[in-house]
């Protein structure tokens, strides 16, 4: 790590994502306790808590933390749009790497998107809310179709893959009873051409948590399980690119992903060909397609070929979104980045059941946060 001490993931926990009405407070408690149990520690041993959410009250983080105990630990609310959970995780990693905590925890949660909007009431349009994210990513898709000849069938194949990965994740929002086909994805109602409703990420509620610690603590708690080391933690905000868009629902230039990933590869001393599995901000399939290239998994313009070959499905050369991703597992907002850490940690420990990536050794988690930021973590099995 750039800050000094090695950092390990010692516990992860989830509350199911979906369109349920479990309170944010209860989801926070469930995910937090699950992570503590997974790590085999009590909340008393946690030195710092980073709590992430996008909707709700400014007091929620520190208030909900009382359900876990009143130990006096520092509690900080982290908010970074879709990258909130990833940012909370990064803060926990930095707390351990920097030496201020032996054990640090990140918990993130959010209610249903519709409920959050209703709580705010109808708003007068502003220049900044002219267009929604669905339009922004549709712009990427239409331009890609124009420049590379990408077809809507390719987008549908990516979405169907992620729906099918989610079928076997008990915490996923979308657990379809039958296999999802690209034809079913294409037959769903259009939301923003060329994206249909089944290509759009789930937007239910959910909570996720992760606990990180020093090597000494991780070894003491391993109990025969492999150690999961955080070998890169990088975050970048935007750098100017030609055609830079400053206003609206945006995640900045797509190059942000390439820049952040390259910093992470350099920090970790690994390259894209070393990865066993990848999680990305796949709010729409065009994103996953472009991230194949921006993360260096394949040369620019060859992402469509990966889809055609099935390389990014479980069992393929480099599986993406192995828990269903934003499209299948869901994207409540705040906790999503921590769900990625949950899945990668389980994959590296060999605990993912029918979704297990054989021989998984290295996993990369990528998130974009509107505004915008890009966060990349790389985890390694030891």
């Amino acid at each position: 790590m750039s800050l000094g001490r090695d950092v390990y993931v010692i516990g992860v926990g989830m509350h199911r994502y979906g369109k349920h009405d479990v309170s944010r407070r209860d989801m926070h408690y469930t995910a937090g306790m699950a992570a503590l149990e997974d790590a085999s520690i009590s909340f008393r041993e946690v030195g710092a808590l980073y709590t992430g959410y996008i909707g709700g009250n400014m007091l929620d983080g520190v208030t909900f933390a009382k359900d876990l105990g009143l130990t006096g630990l520092p509690v900080v609310h982290v908010e970074n749009a879709s990258a909130t959970g990833s940012s909370a995780f990064r803060e926990a990693v930095m707390a351990v790497a920097g030496g201020s905590s032996e054990v640090a925890m990140a918990i993130a949660f959010d209610g249903r998107l519709g409920n959050m909007a209703a709580a705010g009431g109808p708003r007068r349009p502003t220049m900044d809310t002219n267009l929604l994210p669905a339009a922004f990513f549709a712009f990427w898709a239409v331009r890609r179709m124009h420049d590379n000849g990408t077809t809507v069938e390719t987008f549908a194949k990516i979405a169907a893959k992620n729906w099918n990965h989610a079928r076997f994740n008990k915490y996923a929002e979308r657990q379809a009873e039958q296999e999802i086909t690209p034809e079913m994805v294409l037959a769903a109602p259009m939301v923003a051409y060329p994206h249909t409703a089944m290509m759009a990420c789930g937007a239910g509620a959910g909570a996720s948590a992760a606990i990180v610690a020093t090597r000494e603590v991780a070894e003491k708690l391993a109990n025969g399980r492999p150690l999961v080391k955080v070998i890169a933690s990088q975050m970048q905000s935007e750098r100017y690119q030609p055609g830079h868009v400053f206003l609206g629902a945006i995640v900045g230039p797509s190059e942000s992903t390439r820049i952040t990933a390259n910093l992470a590869y350099e920090e970790a001393g690994v390259g894209p060909n070393d990865l066993s599995l990848v999680h990305v901000h796949d709010a729409f399939p065009i994103e996953e397609l472009m991230y194949y290239e921006l993360l260096g998994i394949c040369p620019d313009g060859e992402g469509d070929r990966l889809v055609a070959e099935g390389a990014t499905a479980i069992g393929g050369r480099i599986p993406f979104s192995t828990d269903g991703g934003l499209i299948g597992r869901g994207h409540p907002g705040g906790p999503t980045g921590l769900a990625q850490i949950w899945d990668i940690t389980q994959q590296l420990r060999g605990e993912s059941g029918v979704r297990q990536v054989e021989g998984a050794r290295l996993g990369l988690a990528h998130m974009m946060g509107a505004g915008s930021v890009c966060v990349v973590h790389i985890l390694q099995k030891e």
Binding site: R124, P125, A135, F139, V142, V191, A192, Y193, F246, I250
Partner: protein, 139 residues
Amino acid sequence: MNVPVEEGYFRIPEEAGASPVLLGSYSPAAKTYFWPRRKRCPISLEAVEDCELSTEGEIYSWTFVVMPWLGSQEMDAGGGFGAGQVDLPEGVRIQAPLEGKMGDWAIGQKVRLVTRTVGKDEAGNELCTIAFRLVEGAK
């Protein structure tokens, strides 16, 4: 009277039929234009000058969004609205609604700025945002 839904982004000329004018910035150090206005040049970190940008450009990308028009709760007769990214000659890319219906737009088409109403203020003024309309006769 038509007024911008928010100040500082564009002005509406008094002449009937005239396009709204985008209020941008120019960085002499980076020789680059921006919209909306910047407090500093994000490239050189030097001072910027206020400027006004072209009212016509080319579609860089487009989509058709199946949802109610801005500020409305109900879908209009068209079942949604168009939206685009438009490149102006100064090198600035603008995101805004596109006038027309699904099938009307293609990358590279010439468009010009217009205003579109999104509601009324307390004084009864028509609140406007910007949109783009295909230039007649342009390919």
